[in-house]
């Protein structure tokens, strides 16, 4: 048990080394030991579910609800600076200036067409970097009792780390799943690196339901993030590549699981996701 992937040193993070993703196409996944649970199959976990009944929130730049690939957006709110200078949450138009949130919402809808989708705009004025807005929006979304919150964003400000950690733990205990994309820039960022969230980086295959377990954390799973067809605010589609677009695939899969098994705890959910990851299914079946 000494050479297991999870016992390896955490990869060093320093300027010039991004890459949390994996090139799964064309290279066989690394084998590792596991406790078999062969009765837990993908069909049992999400088969027949389209996400109906699961409430999903996209914390991002807003969502353009007029795009046919997005469908109905139940609630659209934005973090704003109030008259007293404090951040508050206010209802807003279902629009998206930058297009990032609309792309994520379209992916979630394509994987889990039945989900109840809402949007919290925390990226304002087209400018990244407001960790305070991220925390205000996340805190609000956790209080609203969403089943899954998609976070295809992160803050690099270490001063927000402790508060974000508390929020991630609060979400975990309230059975609210935070799905966070790993940053593939050479910087430390949060909250994707916390163990209480489901962290996602990209693989380079083109199957939206294919995902892999990473036996060498901090990234939990690899999902489709290369050449993803996403809706563009206004009209049309574009193919985008980035970890931001891998996380919504995992969000959609999780919504399907929770819609079928609504009383799963976060630790049960992660176990089911693990057992049905493409590189684990075969090991699980063979071990059984």
């Amino acid at each position: 048990m000494t050479d297991q992937p999870w016992r390896r040193d955490r990869p060093p993070v320093f300027p010039g080394v991004p890459a949390w993703g994996a090139l799964t196409a064309g290279s066989p996944p690394e084998p590792f030991s596991l406790i078999p649970q062969p009765h837990v199959t993908p069909d049992w976990v999400w088969g027949g579910s389209d996400g109906s009944g699961a409430r999903v929130c996209v914390l991002d730049s807003g969502v353009d609800q007029s795009h046919p690939r997005v469908g109905t957006v139940t609630t659209s709110v934005a973090v704003r600076t109030g008259t007293d200078g404090q951040l508050d949450i206010a209802e807003c138009a279902g629009t998206d200036q930058a297009g990032h949130g609309t792309a994520c919402a379209g992916i979630i809808r394509s994987v889990a067409p039945g989900v109840d989708l809402s949007s919290v705009r925390v990226l304002t004025d087209g400018k990244f970097g407001s960790g305070a807005a991220l925390m205000a929006g996340l805190s609000w979304a956790i209080d609203q009792g969403y089943d899954v919150i998609n976070l295809s964003l992160a803050t690099t400000r270490p001063e927000f780390c402790a508060t974000l950690h508390e929020l991630a733990d609060r979400a975990y205990f309230r059975r609210c799943i935070l799905v966070a994309s790993a940053n593939n820039m050479p910087v430390l960022s949060y909250p994707w690196a916390f163990s209480s969230v489901v962290s996602v980086a990209s693989h380079n295959e083109s199957d939206p339901m294919a995902y892999y377990y990473n036996p060498s954390p901090p990234v939990d799973f690899y999902a489709m993030g290369v050449g993803v067809k996403v809706p563009v605010p206004g009209a049309g589609e574009m193919r985008l590549t980035g970890n931001s677009f891998a996380a919504p695939h995992m969000t959609g899969i999780i919504a399907r699981v929770l819609a079928k098994h609504p009383y799963l705890t976060p630790f049960q959910l992660k176990t089911l996701l693990y057992l049905n990851a493409r590189n684990v299914v075969e090991l699980n079946r063979r071990s059984g």
Binding site: P15, G16, P18, A19, G21, L23, A25, D60, S61, Q97, A98, G99, H100, L123, D125, G126, K127, F128, G129, S152, L153, A154, T155, T156, R157, P158, S181, N183, N184, M185, P186, V187, S202, N204, G225, V226, G227, V232, P233, G234, A235, G236, E237, M238, R239, L240, T241, G242, N243, S244, F245
Partner: protein, 217 residues
């Protein structure tokens, strides 16, 4: 050209020649590495959030520098909003992008790769590559990672120049007493952006007093 405000610093003077040369050199390298039609750096105007073409190599290099776009425009706006690098393909098929690109640049690319310039935890700009020639040895994700490396290099170089600016561009002299004085100022310069607001105010007050004393001596 624009002014940028790194976190915790006073507004900087307009960019010096070295910074412009540095960014120009980065986009020239990127142009050749990716076999691209154009390579550019946008900086974000901290007052308005507008994206300003700072430097361009290849298509548009003579006309684009200085051109401003509203916050959230195009792929650069998407990257500035998310702080994440990405690759966008078939952009010419998206009417609103095609229109904006044609009006803004006169060049309609098939693909755009972009990565943020992160300086002290904030996105200060975006590096963009139009129509790169895909390398058969790399896939799309690896191209994006390579661009992120170049963008990180550019942002770190800008940060280094800012620190040199704080020292007035002086090189550390050979004299050991002067060397330790410069080292002291350098330590203050490095630590100041991370200090709390009241502490920053007090330290700046002391530095301004020191500056005034030296000015009258």
């Amino acid at each position: 050209m624009t002014e940028i405000t790194p976190a915790g610093c006073e507004p900087r003077p307009r960019q010096n020649l070295t910074e412009r040369q540095l960014l120009q050199s980065v986009v020239e390298v990127a142009l050749r590495v990716f076999g691209a039609a154009a390579s550019s750096v946008f900086l974000i105007d901290p007052e308005t959030g507008e994206l300003v073409f700072e430097t361009v190599a290849g298509a548009g290099s003579s006309t684009l520098p200085g051109t401003r776009f509203p916050p959230g425009t195009g792929i650069a706006g998407l990257v500035a909003a998310s702080g994440e690098p990405l690759l966008a393909e078939n952009v010419a098929e998206v009417p609103q992008f095609a229109r904006a690109m044609a009006i803004g640049t006169g060049y309609l690319p098939r693909s755009i790769m972009a990565a943020p310039l992160i300086l002290q935890g904030e996105c200060i700009g975006v590096m963009e590559i139009l129509d790169h020639t895909p390398d058969p040895a790399r896939d799309g994700m690896q191209d994006v990672e390579l661009l992120a490396l170049l963008a990180a290099h550019a942002a770190l170089s800008v940060e280094l120049l800012i620190r040199l600016d704080w020292l007035g561009g002086h090189r550390v002299p050979a004299d050991s007493k002067a060397t330790s004085q410069i080292a002291l100022l350098q330590r203050i310069g490095v630590r100041l952006p991370a200090a709390s607001e009241p502490l920053t105010t007090n330290v700046l007050r002391l530095l301004v007093t020191a500056d005034q004393l030296l000015g009258t001596s």
